[in-house]
């Protein structure tokens, strides 16, 4: 098959993997480019133990997609590589690939799917939370790995008895990011349940502004209270002080109009979703438009896969914050669009 029948997928996370696997299953050759050394994106990189809302192991979702892509003869995977330049018209793109080792190569493709994903918000950008300074202040992405290893302890080896989750860190805040990350309520609640199961008599305090467990994720919220006895406090944490042994968490319980200063053994920051470096880099290489937040801007806000440029399609969290299940759907949808695009001559001929 000619170069123009081939599709380039940028990013090997849930959206990119699903897109690559679907295209290959349709008989369309795929070039998958992944910036990092391994496939799987954020769920694999950060060792997500389980996925909301039903606490199913992450491998159940990611494993089959990764092996499908790795074993399919029509998919060529380039790890540790980035797309440096794209030239030529839609249908006959010329791609300049750069490898982290210094190697470079050029190839031709007919269409491109951008699935460059996101980064977990770097909480050291918000100095109120002592992230990066206080040993027992961690992010939800780091807690996932600890839960997966089955060992959650304070830095000095103590078993935590009281753990607070601070919702909306790097989200819904003009000082950092004004948007909602859509998933961190659910992820925090899921982790609270897992901590209860792992540590038994631990007390969990979820400090929230709103609980946004949309759709069927609401079940997580209900069961966390009803079956696991997790506590919810409405308010936004204004400051965390490291006392050396514990963490003094300061905020207001807005339901009683009362300020609180309560000691916790560990604080987990529900860090938000930010556009990744990979997205900024791809936007530059492909000359795509980013919105004011840095996410890729689709042509129409309600049609995510359409980049507005012929032959280039968007998928996953590079367009907007989303869950793994939504990213997988987005990957599949973009694959369908790319397939239509590269098959257009053949489809037109068949239709007579």
């Amino acid at each position: 098959m000619s170069d123009s029948g081939r599709v380039l997928v940028i990013g090997g996370g849930p959206a990119g993997l699903r897109a690559a696997a679907d295209l290959a299953a349709l008989g369309i050759p795929v070039v998958l480019v992944e910036r990092r050394g391994e496939l799987g994106g954020a769920p694999i990189r950060w060792k997500y133990k389980t996925l909301a809302p039903e606490l199913r192991p992450t491998e159940e979702v990611m494993g089959p997609m990764i092996s499908e892509v790795e074993s399919h003869p029509l998919v060529k995977v380039h790890r540790n590589s980035v797309v440096e330049r794209v030239s030529g018209p839609a249908g006959n793109f010329r791609i300049a690939l750069g490898e982290s080792g210094g190697g470079a190569q050029e190839l031709g493709v007919g269409a491109i799917i951008t699935a460059t994903g996101f980064e977990h918000f770097d909480a050291s950008r918000d100095p109120r939370y002592e992230y990066g300074r206080a040993a027992n202040v961690i992010g939800i992405h780091e807690l996932e790995g600890m839960l997966k290893d089955g060992r959650v302890v304070c830095k000095d080896g103590r078993k935590p008895e009281r753990i607070a989750f601070v919702f909306c860190v790097g989200s819904r805040d003009r000082a950092t990011n004004p948007w909602c990350c859509t998933v961190c309520c659910g992820v925090s609640i899921k982790q609270g349940i897992e901590l209860k199961q792992l540590l038994k008599d631990v007390e969990i305090y979820n400090i929230y502004i709103d609980v946004r467990t949309f759709g069927l994720w609401e079940q997580l919220y209900w069961s966390s209270m009803e079956e696991h006895g997790i506590n919810f406090i409405r308010g936004r944490v204004s400051q965390i002080y490291d006392t050396g042994k514990q963490l003094l968490v300061k905020g207001e319980d807005t339901l009683v109009r009362g300020p609180f200063e309560v000691l916790m053994d560990m604080v987990v920051l529900a860090v938000g979703i930010t556009p990744g470096e990979g997205t900024a880099q791809a936007a530059k290489a492909l000359d795509l438009t980013c919105n004011t937040f840095g996410f890729l801007q689709p042509r129409h806000p309600n049609v995510h896969y359409d980049s507005g440029k012929a032959g280039i399609f968007l998928a996953g969290a590079c367009v907007a914050p989303m869950s793994v299940e939504e990213a997988i759907l987005a990957g599949s949808a973009a694959a369908m669009q790319a397939a239509k695009f590269v098959r257009k001559p053949a489809l037109q001929a068949a239709a007579g």
Partner: protein, 152 residues
């Protein structure tokens, strides 16, 4: 605690911007000796902070053991109970939603302030009928009344 016989207006009269401080938080001992030094009255004055310094779920667990109180922990503070409550309509201190939260988190000082109103519940059951999480607020109010009385 402050001396009950002392007139509230006399208490803490040397505090600058006195009107901002709740009487109950002013601790002014009538007679206090600190190792031979007389620190009575204004010299021993202490303003207790308003800040909540701990979350304590003992009372909630007591309530769960009383008849009607079993599902207090289900509450997600929507306020449907208070909105449906005919007593709350007349009496601002009677707020089932609020009682549930104060008990749940063990806010002792606040409970001390509002405990006298717990028994205003008319047991009409409108809250229980409207509650979206099947908390049974009417039962919970009765259980809180019992648990608070026992805790004394």
């Amino acid at each position: 605690m402050a001396d009950a016989k002392q007139k509230p207006e006399e208490k803490g009269r040397f505090i600058v911007e006195r009107q901002y401080v709740d009487d109950r938080r002013i601790n002014e001992p009538k007679k206090l000796d600190a190792g031979g030094m007389d620190v009575s009255g204004r010299w021993g004055l202490l303003i207790e902070p308003r800040t909540i310094t701990s979350f304590d779920h003992t009372l909630m667990r007591d309530v769960q053991r009383e008849a009607g109180g079993k599902f207090i922990h289900r509450c997600f503070q929507c306020g449907n109970c208070t909105a449906a409550c005919p007593t709350a309509e007349e009496h601002p201190e009677f707020n089932p939603r609020y009682f549930i939260h104060v008990v749940r988190m063990g806010y002792q000082a606040e409970l001390e302030r509002v405990r006298q109103y717990v028994y205003l519940c008319a047991s009409c059951g409108r809250c229980t009928e409207t509650c979206p999480r099947e908390v049974d607020p009417a039962g919970v109010m009765a259980a809180i009344g019992t648990a608070v009385r026992k805790a004394r």
